[in-house]
Symmetry: C2
């Protein structure tokens, strides 16, 4: 096209995509180009602003390494990651929420009633619940990955003082789809704010603090994987999560308990429970594939 104009550039872009373009790729590129072009036309984006955007992405590339991906963080703080979670959530199933960058493979198995707290400082929490499907039936073949921060707000792969798989496990559920374990209250923490995303947060007066949460991946044959996070109802950052992870159905209650005798004998840390401690009851609802 030798006469590209601001009004025909989207059409020109689409005409450049040949007949061998996979249909889904064509659909994605059509929507992406159309929206990106509208963004530039509507804002009258200047060369200086375009240059700033290029430098922003270039800096994101420079600060990205295997341990820290600034492009994921850009997606997170613009709400893109969470929106992908939301459009993929089946109504009636538990909402999905951001995977985040701290999941690692290889966490050890933990049976029902097992103890994740071990020698970690922090308030003890007894977490239990059930995995069920949308018909209300238990899913006893489910497996649950859990990972969380230590009391200092760091994950084990951010903190050389923690054992490699500290506060990480693959939980087995019992024949009724029940899971249960003891752990500590995770701590709020900040998203990395020493890169270009930090500049953006500061320029817009946003704080980098995420509300504390437990990360879960719930998997069962025949069901969609559920990647989610569960947040305590009393967290001070619940209404300003910079990555938009909080959903109404992902809020849990910490219930303070004083009497360890109320806890089932299956919980192996029961004898070490000291008052007060907390309990959490949270069910996961899986959607079929």
């Amino acid at each position: 096209m030798r006469n590209v104009t601001k009004d025909n550039i989207t059409q020109t872009f689409l005409e450049y995509c040949g007949p061998e373009t996979p249909p889904r790729l064509r659909e994605l590129l059509t929507s992406l180009a159309s929206h990106a072009h509208s963004f530039i036309r509507e804002t009258g984006l200047t060369h200086a602003e375009w240059q700033y955007a290029i430098e922003f992405l270039t800096r994101a590339g420079e600060i990205t390494d295997p341990e820290r991906n600034e492009f994921v963080l850009i997606s997170d703080v613009l709400g893109l990651s969470s929106l992908v979670d939301m459009v993929g959530t089946v109504p009636g199933a538990t909402s999905s929420s951001v995977l985040g960058p701290f999941h690692i493979l290889g966490a050890p198995p933990l049976d029902y009633g097992g103890d994740l707290k071990q020698d970690n400082d922090g308030a003890t929490v007894v977490v239990k619940g059930r995995v069920r499907n949308m018909e209300g039936n238990p899913v006893p073949e489910a497996e649950i990955e859990i990972w969380q921060t230590a009391d200092n707000g760091l994950y084990s792969n951010q903190d050389v003082t923690q054992p490699e798989y500290n506060l990480r496990a693959r939980l087995k559920v019992d024949h009724d789809g029940n899971y249960g374990f003891t752990t500590i209250r995770p701590a709020p923490y900040t998203v990395p704010d020493d890169g270009p995303v930090g500049d953006l947060l500061r320029a817009t007066g946003r704080r980098p603090w995420r509300p504390s949460h437990l990360h879960f991946i719930v998997m069962a044959p025949g069901y969609r994987d559920l990647v989610t996070e569960v947040f305590p109802s009393d967290d001070p950052y619940l209404d300003e999560d910079p990555v938009f992870g909080v959903r109404e159905d992902l809020i849990m209650q910490y219930v303070q308990e004083d009497n360890p005798d109320t806890i089932e004998d299956d919980f192996r840390a029961k004898e070490r429970l000291t008052s007060p401690f907390f309990t959490v009851d949270f069910d996961f609802v899986l959607a079929r594939e």
Copy 2:
């Protein structure tokens, strides 16, 4: 906001931007978030597609270095760079077109009638024209930067066999706003296609060849800088420029000449002109600041 949904996430994003957010930044982020969210909702973007996009950007970061910026190339092949050029063009002025990554500072001055060809292989071209304003008056205070490929399709900063400032100059115009110099026909070349953008071009059946062109920046006090490219009318890639740089008013005619006597004596290469050679006549129209 503890109950973000796919329908309120754009509004939530905007509410997160504090009152100290600069108004233009707020405007840009409002439009950007709104379009990015619509893109995800309209396409039902999946986690796997999102992951592919993150990996695409991560690879772009890895292949980017001071000599080659893949983020500029992403912007180029999606038509974003050209659209920024177009929305910044004042109707009646010469269209702007992509700066590209090969401009360097410090090119030597060249007087009216000077020779840029020197020892370069390639067909000789006598390029001349006038810099004028939108009222049709000459702009004698203008200065013009020119850069182009050698006969092998490479710019001097891509090719160690070329002198540092080969085929680059800052042209002076005369008291009537005229410029003129001798050079060679530039060659078509490909955009870098060994990175993620190359994968995208191949997946969509697009070729990486750009039509040959002369790059210009025209500057004069009181006028907007004009960053542009000029393309020959007979180039085979004119209708499929992967970076959307071609505009009707940026097409020049190579006119074949056989008689060096038709060229003004001011052209210092006149005595070395051998038949046939080409002439190009191209005027630049500047918009006031």
